[in-house]
Assembly symmetry: C2
Homo-oligomer: 213 residues x 2
């Protein structure tokens, strides 16, 4: 057997991405061999090199795509000229929702950075810095406008990001709380962190009052 019938190269490449993602997240980059990836894909190890020049390139591709997708998703989600408080709550809900749906990508983005060569490492770190900058800018804007009360905007933004991303360490689907419950709890926590009293800035949900059935 050589090239199978009905095979498009891009399909195999995506299968390599998916299988590598799961294996890297479960076992760690260094503990995953090209032969393991190949077996998961259903192919011989040498075939992987038709799609990625090295093992490192697979990891790099995964991290780069994840970070770019995250940035793009927020760029689409954000509303320009929104108030800092509204933007903060939007960011909070977005971050939780986006990350909770991609536990493997988030995991390797934090854990496998050190396995990248310096230049690839810097590229990913810059992207992460850019994303963190969105939140920092929201906090700074709210600080300037006086709607937030913050001791230190850079530190507070890191604290909030850590708090939000931390959800991934304990959330399991089918647990006591669904994503909407979690978003709501963290909206409250984040509001308090920046000196907003959440209950006074958000109107109660109408149907909880008007629709008791």
């Amino acid at each position: 057997m050589a090239r199978p019938i009905g095979i498009k190269g891009s399909d195999t490449a995506n299968k390599i991405r998916n299988c590598s993602l799961h294996l890297f997240a479960q076992l760690g980059y260094a503990a995953v061999s090209m032969r393991m990836i190949a077996e998961a894909v259903g192919v011989q190890a040498a075939a992987l090199y038709n799609h990625f020049p090295t093992k490192q390139d697979i990891l790099c591709d995964l991290l780069q795509v994840h970070m770019q997708d995250l940035i793009d998703a927020w760029e689409r989600e954000r509303e320009k000229d929104e108030s800092p408080s509204a933007a903060l709550l939007r960011f909070t809900r977005f971050h939780i929702r986006y990350h909770i749906q991609r536990p493997d990508e988030v995991f390797i983005s934090y854990m496998e950075l050190r396995n990248l060569e310096p230049e690839n490492f810097s590229a990913i770190e810059n992207m992460r810095g850019r994303y963190e900058g969105y939140l920092r800018d929201i906090l700074s804007a709210g600080q300037t406008s006086g709607s937030f009360s913050i001791a230190d905007a850079p530190v507070t933004s890191m604290a909030v990001i850590s708090m939000l991303t931390g959800v991934n360490t304990w959330y399991r689907s089918g647990g006591r709380l669904d994503v909407e419950d979690i978003e709501e709890i963290y909206e409250g926590l984040v509001s308090r962190c920046v000196g907003l009293d959440h209950s006074s800035t958000v109107a109660p949900e109408p149907n909880k009052i008007e629709d008791p059935v």
Copy 2:
């Protein structure tokens, strides 16, 4: 050369612990070979097996000692019969101070858990759960006594832990803020997360008022 003069076995064992800790933190458990550890220690690879039966046992030892030391340190630091708010602030400062001084241990405790065999994994996870329980109990106590205003104590405790541990991802010694500055900022953040207004619960520092020089 066989056994060198003036060598105590426990010294070598500790050197193996220290070198492995740094290497694991820098490169990851799977990427570190016994020969690398041996070279860092200044010994041949086979000599490591006089002190640890396998590579996994070195990792397991490091994680277990770290978690046990953390638990012991908090048991010594805590004050029985303290109010929930005082206990919370004590925990906050303790956690930041303790973790910021041990970045490598903290790092591998989060990253290399998956490289443990199931039973070792469970042992470490139980210890972590026990430590997290200290905070959860403080929050529950404050919720019961009415001094805290919390939507969900388990979730809030995980949020707070994530926030505090997150300091390790950005803190570098010699930076803009020293540890005391950071503890103070996070004291404020944590107080707000549980519905305490920090500024009203802590008296202003006297020398900032009385000693303007």
